[in-house]
């Protein structure tokens, strides 16, 4: 923003318009109408009941957290110009509609829009970027109280965007925390998206994006990413997504992507993969999940390397008899082999698919007999002489100790 102001000031003497209740300038739209491009509109604390439309390059700054109230009928802020910055507002109660997706802050066909340090509460959609480029959404808090999918909107929603940055936001209680459709070359960092009705993160056709250091937890259905290639997901946390159709991460038709250094904790299914090809999953930690990886027959040429599987009920299940994916150098806490030459790699291959996991795929309530002695015997017998499990799905070089990224010995 500093650069913006500098740029502005070098061309014209930029003015600051102060809006405050009870003064001559008590409406934000009036100030915008009088402002020249690259001026600043400073809004003092108070409640403003208007549908603000920013139609020229402006810095719109709230001081003392002014409230923009949509009164469940309007869209509090619409941005229809390039070079706009919006900060310091509290945006509440946008209208909701079935025909138009009203949002707390909506950006139309713009470039260089900066939205930061705003509080959004009880909006239908939170921040909505439509057909925009080079925008920055950072440090906002979004809160909604959706109960069913049909009547709530997404937190941060982007449609047909390129090169946008979504950083340090907190989203809670929306339908999907972060939703992307046709969004490319973007970065999503350090956000937290929790307790959303449906997905914490949901994207489709969004190629070449990077997701780093985000947290997705307690979402109705976890995270779903689909029909996308060249995604980078690193250092994210996927936790506590629990339910019959909840996934830490649901990967559908994902190609040439990298998913590494993530933590998956206490999800019903940590990763569910369908139609994924040529992706790498490395150095992830799977802990206390019901199913760590459920990989469907339609996945091929994926590489699972240096992952740690600890205290999951089932590590891997598949519906395929032959495995077209590579598992190597992972640590499996259920591995029972030995390491005579002491190189840290088990001498017998590990078969991560357990018989009982296969059985309970077909008969879910068989789960009730998990950890029973008879089942344990069956498991051991199957491990020794595999007959039902796909024995081509095996880790030929299982690690004896959990992989420690800091001291990476096995490359």
């Amino acid at each position: 923003m500093g650069i913006l102001l500098l740029l502005g000031s070098s061309f014209l003497p930029a003015r600051t318009w102060v809006v405050a209740p009870g003064t001559a300038l008590s409406r934000i739209n009036d100030a915008i109408a009088q402002a020249k491009p690259y001026d600043t509109v400073l809004v003092r604390g108070g409640r403003y009941r208007e549908a603000v439309v920013v139609d020229r390059p402006l810095t719109l700054r709230g001081e003392g957290r002014p409230v923009l109230d949509g009164e469940d009928a309007r869209q509090p802020i619409s941005v229809r110009a390039n070079h706009v910055s919006i900060s310091g507002f509290r945006v509440v109660r946008s209208g909701s509609g079935a025909l138009e997706d009203l949002a707390g802050i909506k950006v139309y066909n713009a470039r260089y829009v900066y939205i930061f340090n705003n509080d959004l509460d009880s909006n239908f959609f939170g921040i909505y970027l439509s057909n925009s480029r080079l925008c920055w959404v950072s440090g906002n808090t979004l809160r909604a109280y959706g109960e069913v999918e049909q009547t709530s909107g997404n937190g941060i929603h982007a449609w047909k965007c390129d090169s946008i940055f979504i950083t340090d936001n907190r989203v809670r209680g929306h339908r999907d925390g972060i939703y992307f459709e046709f969004v490319t070359h973007s970065r999503i960092e350090r956000n937290s998206s929790t307790h959303n009705v449906r997905y914490g993160l949901h994207f489709m056709f969004s190629h070449n994006d990077a997701y780093m250091h985000n947290t997705f937890a307690h979402n109705g259905a976890g995270v779903a990413v689909m029909y996308t290639r060249e995604v980078l997901m690193r250092h994210n946390t996927f936790a506590d997504n629990i339910g019959a159709s909840a996934y830490g991460m649901l990967l559908k038709d994902i190609q040439r992507s990298e998913i590494s250094d993530n933590v998956f904790r206490n999800n019903t299914a940590a990763i569910f993969m369908e139609g994924c090809t040529r992706s790498r999953l490395e150095r992830n930690e799977f802990r206390q999940n019901g199913w760590a990886i459920r990989i469907q027959a339609s996945c091929e040429n994926n590489v699972f390397r240096h992952n740690n599987f600890v205290a999951n009920t089932f590590d891997v299940t598949t519906n395929n008899q032959i495995s077209l994916n590579t598992f190597e150098y992972n640590y499996w806490d259920q591995y029972t082999g030995y390491d005579i030459n002491r190189d840290g790699i088990g001498d017998v291959p590990h078969l991560p698919v357990s018989l009982f996991a296969m059985i309970s795929e077909q008969m879910p309530y068989a789960m009730m007999f998990w950890r029973s002695f008879g089942v344990l015997l069956l498991e051991r017998a199957e491990r020794a002489i595999p007959s039902l499990c796909p024995d081509s799905l095996r880790d030929h070089s299982p690690l004896m100790k959990p992989y420690d990224a800091a001291s990476s010995k096995h490359q």
Binding site: T268, N289, T313, M363, M367, R371, F373
Partner: protein, 255 residues
């Protein structure tokens, strides 16, 4: 009755089995918690051992104890002592000493290494199973006068509860896999104390997996006050009915 229980405890302590038994649990739990990097994983392995070994050891030990104290009981019955007091005293003595050995042997390491409600539940399940299997042992021991046959019967009971039952139910499940069996399975779980203990722990250890598919129903049922209350009640019934039956037999028995 309490006096007889006290004598029974002295008697049991003298042959040192109970000490070794307590020590066994200390060793097992310590080694599992040390071997497994994750306390949760240690707990899971411990549960496997517990569900196998605890019923076996408590039922065999108690049966042998009853046979060994027949002479003592005959002697006592020559005195003005009621049969029910003598019998219940013996039960109390065995149950208290085994529970104490197990409770200390496993309780202390679990508290030290884990200390969560999960751990307490594991110990609680173990204590309940001890009471149930001591009770079953007394039944086995009064049903026949021959020691070898009595121990055989005890082993049979153990084998059925710990291994066979699950196998049979699993087979039945395969056979009827086209039908919705959730409620039937809940009912069947109540018919076997070992299963009841196992499922109680399962809900703690594998809750994430259980929430998938139909698991939610089990979670709902066993997590509710009704489910927990019912489970405790059924365990109490499992302690009571073999014991009362055994008492009836014992009172009419020609020693």
């Amino acid at each position: 009755m309490l006096k007889i229980a006290r004598y029974a405890i002295y008697d049991i302590l003298r042959n040192r089995f109970v000490l070794a038994y307590g020590l066994f649990w200390v060793l097992v739990s310590m080694s599992f918690f040390n071997l497994e990097s994750d306390p949760l994983k240690g707990m899971a392995s411990l549960l496997n051992i517990l569900l196998m070994a605890l019923p076996l050891m408590s039922i065999v030990f108690s049966t042998i104890h009853v046979y060994n104290s027949y002479e003592f009981m005959e002697l006592m019955l020559a005195q003005p002592v009621r049969r029910s007091a003598l019998f219940m005293g013996q039960y109390l003595g065995v149950a208290v000493s085994l529970c104490a050995a197990f409770g200390l042997g496993m309780g202390v390491p679990v508290l030290l290494y884990d200390g969560s409600p999960r751990g307490l539940l594991l110990v609680g399940c173990g204590l309940a199973l001890t009471l149930v299997f001591v009770s079953l042992a007394f039944l086995a021991a009064v049903l026949t006068r021959d020691k070898a046959r009595g121990i055989g019967l005890a082993l049979l009971i153990w084998f059925f509860c710990a291994i066979l039952y699950d196998g049979l139910v699993l087979m039945g499940m395969f056979a009827f896999s086209d039908y919705p069996l959730e409620r039937v399975i809940i009912a069947l779980a109540f018919l076997n104390p070992v299963d009841l203990a196992r499922i109680a722990m399962l809900l703690q250890l594998d809750s994430a997996a259980l929430m998938g598919y139909t698991g939610a129903l089990f979670h709902h049922f066993f997590g509710s006050a009704l489910g927990i209350g019912l489970a405790v009640l059924v365990l109490a019934v499992w302690v009571a009915w073999p014991l009362l039956w055994a008492l009836r037999v014992f009172q009419r028995k020609d020693l």
